[in-house]
Symmetry: C2
Subunit: 433 residues, 2 copies
């Protein structure tokens, strides 16, 4: 066989010395690594720039940061429609789409999609009852304390937004205006002026209401069988910020003094309900009527909450406040961590832990104690009660709640009837309740 | 030359067919690509999990999120020291370090490092003046509205924290307790109960105070030359949440009824100041005294703010409110964007824009209108005024402020003396002031 220099079929010899193919492989690898690093850096940059647009649990809508460009005012939204009105008698259409568009254009203001706005209020002028305004002041402070501890905004209104819708009807125009002023709020939580928070840590079980638009404290059998005007409570309720609610409130208001049929409605409600006491059409009886007579249209979106006590009748619970305080203190003493002092800002975490520890304990603080029938402002309390029992009841409830707040400031009331406070002993509540 | 099959020095033939070395290069590249993707995913996961620990402007300390592990209570801090007391007469040491440690361990609660906590309050029991509590209620609502619009927390206190420190001295124990309860707050902004916000948008020029621990509305020449008891105002001030402030308040309180030398202090202050009216040692005269006599120790950290009106004497400004409203409306009409309706949540952005547009306009709304001498609760107003002028002044100021709030809810007062409101015309304030 003759030898020759070149052959196209000569097998490639594997050698250990670096070869040209190894060099190009290494360079390809390095190029890809560099590309991966660049990708990482770009991703990080994009993420941090636009992270407020991502729905992220750490973005809190209450930060009130201005738009990203300080000199730029927000983009056009429903607010710019000339026909927009906040008034109860001027309908709004497509509210759901309008709210969503506003939220889309204002992510730094919209924040958490399940935000609650608490709304309350009282009359514009001084109370006739000489201690009425003092009680309203303390009841307002009570709500402000609850809201501060829970990161909830509170709008306390003192203006009569429609001259005809006064007394208990006055809340409807206020809720309507608040919904338009707060498109970032998913829910409005109306709380009457005569209702006091008596559990400063408990939170609403919002998960129960995800398929409904209104939550009333009430009992189905009392509505549909007893046809009772006290089968629901119109003084503490949740209503979702949506078109359904705007339409519902228009329906509700059609039985109010706003309507030319107002006087007739008084008669109709008195006839339809078994125990309506007085002749005028009132907001609570109107709610029951809607449930009875217009159930097909509205009923499926109204949650009659009879398991979770949205609000509690004051006479039922006030005698037991010392016992309740003792029950909670006993539970806390079982868990060393619960006896620790903490910043007020940490109270939600401690509150949730305490709720878990309460477990099967049946003695629970009422979330809200409602002084129905006491009429602190006018003083025209229901004849079943005395002015003194109402006054003392409110003192006890307000001091019971204030103790929960002042605990984070190092003080407590001497007893539930007195305004006097004393510094907490350092091992509170280990020794006493 | 004899031919042979194998030769170790045969040159390698380059072929186009995939070779074993190309295959291993490709697999190495794929492995590295996969590693890069894994890196990206891990980075993203770590970032989102711990992003609240990064100092990020979108993390708002008001989110009140519980610690990342729902069952885990916060780490041990100064709160766990058995000797900790919130009371004014129990000193705290190393407060700066304690606050910083708490902030380090609780980043999700600490948030923005320049947070302000507003503190106000009134007496525990009903006012002697029959309209006193009504005015306190409206003045409290006024502060709550300002705070809601600015994302500031408000603590309104109604408990007397130390039995001896009553009247104007009562604020010191409250501020002390609030500082410990709110380690997330950098500043406490004390606002007297008889002070009303009359500019709902203006913000404090906090940048001016970065090197100081206390900000008083006052005039240096009135302090050091005139030695006047009204050279500073003790009803509206800022005080930093730090050790210096705790020590300062202890010094300040040493001239209060807490001290066995209280009676002597009354005489000393009356002698040292040129125009002190009454005999008891009061908190405001005590401040002036500290500036005069202990300037070396405290003076360098106290900012006497005479350029920015922290609070304004009510008689000086109330006659001009309609004129002021007109001046602001005129400025707004020049800039189309300023006439737009908006969510209350957007009010800060609009407020800042309006402030810029006001430019050189001298007619400005007072941030706070202070009803010094009116004593709404006791009714024991200074003899210079009548009860009626105080009442009317407060109505005008409160309605003037309420108009700025209600604007975002679609309403305004008919005039500054009346509680009655009307819906805003859609082109407000284009046509009228």
């Amino acid at each position: 066989m003759g030898g020759s220099f070149a052959s196209t079929s000569t097998p490639v010899a594997l050698t250990r010395r670096p070869s040209r193919s190894s060099f190009s492989c290494l360079s390809r690898v390095l190029v890809l690594l560099a590309a991966a690093v660049v990708l990482l850096v770009v991703f990080y940059g994009v993420y941090t720039t636009y992270s407020s647009s991502f729905s992220s649990p750490v973005v809190d809508s209450r930060s009130r940061l201005p738009p990203r460009h300080p000199g730029r005012l927000p983009d056009a939204t429903f607010y710019d429609e000339p026909s927009l009105s906040y008034a109860i008698d001027r309908p709004v259409a497509d509210w759901d789409a309008k709210r969503q568009e506003w939220r889309r254009l204002n992510p730094h203001l919209a924040g958490d999609s399940q935000r609650i706005l608490m709304v309350s209020g009282s009359q514009p002028g001084p109370c006739r009852n000489s201690v009425g305004d003092h009680l309203l002041l303390r009841l307002f402070k009570n709500k402000a304390d609850y809201c501060r501890r829970h990161g909830i905004e509170l709008f306390y209104n003192t203006a009569l937004l429609h001259p005809k819708m006064d007394f208990y009807w006055a809340k409807i125009p206020v809720i309507r205006a608040a919904m338009l002023a707060h498109p970032e709020a998913e829910w409005v939580w109306w709380v009457d002026s005569d209702a006091a928070f008596t559990d400063m840590d408990l939170e609403l079980p919002m998960g129960r209401y995800q398929f409904h638009n209104m939550v009333l404290h009430g009992w189905a059998h009392l509505v549909y069988e007893k046809r009772s005007w006290v089968s629901v409570n119109a003084g503490v309720f949740l209503i979702r910020n949506c078109q359904w609610s705007l339409d519902f409130m228009a329906e509700w208001a059609s039985m109010s003094p706003l309507s030319p049929d107002y006087a007739s409605w008084g008669k109709i409600l008195k006839a339809e309900l078994n125990d309506k006491l007085f002749n005028e059409s009132d907001d609570q009886s109107a709610l029951v009527y809607i449930l009875l007579k217009q159930n097909a249209r509205w009923g499926d979106k109204i949650y009659l909450e009879s398991e979770f006590e949205l609000e509690s009748y004051w006479l039922k619970t006030l005698g037991r406040l010392e016992e309740l305080a003792g029950a909670y203190a006993a539970v806390e003493r079982q868990e060393e961590g619960m006896l620790r002092k903490h910043a007020e800002a940490a109270s939600r975490a401690y509150g949730r832990m305490r709720e878990k520890l309460m477990g099967a304990e049946k003695r629970r603080r009422p979330l809200i104690t409602h002084f129905t029938g006491c009429q602190p402002c006018s003083g025209e309390h229901n004849e079943m009660y005395t002015a003194e029992s109402c006054w003392e009841g409110m003192q006890r409830a307000l001091h019971f709640a204030d103790d929960q707040v002042l605990r984070d400031y190092g003080f407590r009331h001497v007893d539930l009837l007195t305004a006097d406070v004393i510094p907490l002993p350092s091992d509170y509540p280990a020794a006493t309740s």
